[in-house]
């Protein structure tokens, strides 16, 4: 798969998603002496998913800091450091553990600038490995993007490609406010061409991965790839699906989605978080309230995670989140007016 980030005429190199994130962090550590990495076992261990890798050897333990297993305290230290002049990149081993740090993320980091009337800034990045498919069951597989997307003051992104993983991380570091990056664990090994050197991918911009006429599929994270797979199958039957990679949950790219739905008249939202009150609900409501409403020619459909914790059994685990055949079937239903 090709990296879709539009960087004209630059040198690219094949990297995995994890390597692209590491590359971004290395560039950031080199460019900006105030950048530090914090997290559990991100030093010699290299991170739970080997994302920080050998960075501790290159930048030392002062800048690649192992923290105790103290998610709340660690996140709070990152907030305090950001408030006073550092730019921490804080890694949670699993996004699930961010539940331990909700206080610092939601009550402190997100609100500090506002509570202090613009007199303070919290420029930090929380990296959160997320998603199911690894057999890690209920407490290590969740997709919390809607939780954090509900909090004014936070920005929430979900890169789906190595190039975006790098570009969004560097953009997040440039952002003067806290940014949460959900990295899908199943994508860490995915390889693609990634531009070399420094660049940023804008936060808040979706990307049309595959243009189409008949139905708009808005997907995020790994669902983008499943949607593209479904779109190929649909194309064989003459159904031309447009696949949009949401990339950013907050802020959401209204314009791109509205323009697409105006064109296709049909919308399918695909996301891994629990279906109810999820990202798809927001996109659906946004379309219903927008000028695209008068162009809808079918009900809006959502495919999301099951109303259950992520189960352990591999078949159950697959059944708990949208897979390509389900996306294909739902798009077909929309186009064939079966719903």
């Amino acid at each position: 798969m090709n990296a879709q980030t539009a960087i004209p005429e630059v040198k690219t190199r094949e990297m995995s998603y994890a390597e692209a994130i590491r590359d971004a962090m290395a560039i950031a550590l080199e460019r900006d002496p105030t950048v530090i990495l914090m997290g559990e076992d991100i030093g010699v261990y290299g991170g739970a998913f080997q994302v920080t890798g050998d960075l501790v050897e290159r930048f030392g333990t002062d800048r690649v800091m192992d923290t105790p297993i103290s998610e709340l305290g660690g996140a709070g230290v990152a907030v305090g450091a950001a408030l006073t002049g550092l730019k921490p990149i804080f890694e949670f081993q699993f996004s699930d553990f961010a539940a331990l740090a909700m206080e610092q993320i939601v009550n402190q980091a997100a609100k500090m600038r506002y509570m202090l009337g613009g007199e303070a800034a919290v420029p930090l990045v929380f990296r959160m490995p997320a998603g199911s498919g690894t057999g890690a069951a209920a407490q290590h597989s969740q997709s919390f993007e809607a939780w954090f997307g509900h909090v004014p003051g936070l920005k929430v992104v979900q890169p789906s490609t190595p190039a975006d993983a790098k570009g969004l991380l560097l953009a997040a570091l440039e952002d003067p406010d806290p940014v949460i990056i959900f990295e899908h664990k199943l994508l860490y090994k995915m390889k693609a061409q990634v531009p070399e050197g420094y660049y940023t991918t804008p936060i808040g911009k979706a990307q049309i991965m595959r243009p189409g006429r008949d139905v708009t599929i808005v997907a995020s994270a790994i669902m983008v790839h499943r949607a593209l797979e479904a779109a190929e199958k649909l194309a064989k039957d003459g159904i031309d699906a447009e696949v949009i990679d949401l990339r950013s949950v907050r802020p959401i790219d209204r314009d791109t989605i509205i323009a697409s739905v105006r064109k296709t008249g049909r919308l399918l939202c695909v996301y891994e978080g629990v279906r109810t009150l999820g990202v798809g609900a927001e996109i659906s409501a946004m379309i219903a309230e927008s000028e695209a409403f008068d162009y809808l020619d079918a009900p809006i459909l959502r495919l999301g995670g099951a109303e259950a914790p992520i189960p352990y059994n591999p078949d159950l685990e697959r059944a708990a989140v949208p897979q390509a055949p389900a996306i294909e079937a739902a798009a077909r239903q929309l186009v064939r007016r079966e719903v």
Partner: protein
């Protein structure tokens, strides 16, 4: 049947409650809503109200007893109701409602809409998608006339598109009529004549109504902007000319024939004297009506009226009557306003949507041929203008390209003359506020 008094659930995780005290004795009367007993939970003490009025009997729980949620504590008998033995406690205590069976896991493909069986009774409003509704609205097609191909007969976008195409294709290759002012008479277009009275609509209000007669190739909908600018309580009567708007497609032999139909419509619609206003061809008809029914007309307002001279932009009239697409209509419409950009593409599109029916275009082409042969006005109402007794105002745009305002100079001295700057042939659309204010002054004695 006595009303059961139970241990209520007053807290989320409450399974049982301790009865603290009864406020009512066995056999005493209670009123619905009055304090009946107190309970204590591990979180709070609270008062419970009587669920019904009557007499309290069969007290089953004493103060201090812990009772399961939902279990009966006593019964309230209606006044006069025979008190029998205590109703079976066993049946009453079976309060634990079984949890509903968990719904089948259906996380991935959810088809909530399709899941609803197609047994819904139609409530008279057609089911249609938003885009279908919008297209139908724009094409002035009633959804009731469209057959839906979607689930449960939902009308979809292409159903409306098909209906628009069907209507446009009723007379598919309508022969392009030769210019109406051609030397040789063109073959009349093929359309079937209808019968019936002219279509009249009214707006209720107080006082003398204002009767509106539209111009050639227009209809009553064209008054909308002016109506908005006029006083809200001014009653209105609008006449659609034959072959226009919703009036029947009637063939007319000439101006007099047309005037006769208008007088008939007037006699039917007007319950008393009216203020009369006509535009262009409708102006000529208003003048004729005022001439025929002078005592019924309180004031007469003529808006760029026809009938006061031979000159007319026949090409524009004919072009408008015949155009079958927005692209061919728009250039002619631009002649109507003072400035070419006075007509937007959307306006032209909307105008064309109202003219999609080829029958309507054919009727109007034929009417143009009769009224304006060879591109001149085939009728002269100058004499009628001299005879009018009602206070009369002539309002004309200085930049009228269809009918030159100089024709107004034929009016006798008592007729008020208003020449509007920067306005063309359709003042009621180009500057409705200014026009409304002039009309207002004219109507007020």
């Amino acid at each position: 049947m006595p009303v059961e008094v139970i241990m209520p659930k007053v807290d989320m995780d409450m399974a049982s409650g301790k009865l603290a005290v009864w406020h009512v004795e066995e056999g005493a009367t209670v009123k619905k809503g009055a304090a009946l007993f107190d309970i204590e939970t591990d979180k709070a003490a609270m008062e419970v109200e009587a669920p019904a009025s009557g007499r309290l009997h069969h007290i089953l729980a004493a103060p201090g007893q812990v009772i399961a949620v939902g279990a009966p504590l006593a019964f309230i008998y209606a006044e006069g109701e025979a008190v029998g033995p205590a109703p079976s406690v066993a049946s009453a205590a079976a309060t634990a409602t079984p949890e509903p069976a968990p719904a089948a896991a259906d996380a991935v493909v959810t088809t909530p809409v399709a899941a609803i069986a197609a047994v819904e009774v139609a409530n008279g409003t057609p089911r249609a998608t938003p885009v279908a509704r919008r297209l139908a609205r724009e094409a002035a097609i009633a959804l009731e006339s469209v057959i839906g191909s979607g689930p449960r007969q939902r009308i979809q976008k292409d159903d409306v598109e098909r209906e628009i195409a069907r209507r446009a294709a009723i007379k598919p290759a309508a022969p392009a009529p030769a210019p109406v002012y051609a030397a040789e008479p063109a073959a009349p277009a093929v359309w079937s004549e209808e019968s019936g009275d002219l279509h009249v609509t009214t707006r209720k209000g107080t006082g003398t109504p204002l009767l509106l007669i539209h111009g050639f190739a227009a209809d009553s909908a064209g008054w909308m902007a002016l109506e908005r600018a006029l006083p809200r309580d001014l009653p209105l009567i609008r006449i659609d000319l034959p072959g226009h708007g919703r009036s029947p497609r009637r063939r007319i032999a000439g101006f007099a024939d047309l005037a006769r139909l208008v007088v008939q419509a007037f006699d039917r619609a007007a319950e008393g004297p009216v203020h009369l206003l006509g535009h262009s061809l409708g102006g000529a008809l208003a003048l004729a009506l005022a001439d025929i029914r002078p005592r019924q007309i309180k004031t007469l307002t003529l808006l760029a009226p026809a009938g006061l001279g031979p000159e007319i932009d026949g090409a524009a009239l004919n072009g408008i009557a015949r155009a079958s697409a927005t692209e061919s209509l728009a250039p002619w419409l631009k002649r109507l306003t003072a400035r070419p950009d006075g007509i937007s593409h959307d306006f032209a599109k909307a105008a064309m949507l109202a003219r999609l029916d080829p029958d309507l275009r054919a009727v109007q082409s034929d009417m143009a041929r009769v009224l304006f042969p060879d591109g001149v006005q085939g009728f002269d109402l100058t004499a009628a203008l001299d005879r009018v007794t009602a206070p009369t105002a002539l309002i004309w745009g200085r930049d009228d390209h269809i009918l030159p305002w100089s024709q107004a100079l034929k009016a006798p001295g008592e007729v008020a003359l208003h020449l509007l700057r920067g306005v063309g042939h359709i003042p009621h659309i180009e500057d409705p506020e200014a026009l409304a204010s002039l009309i207002g002054r004219h109507l007020r004695p």
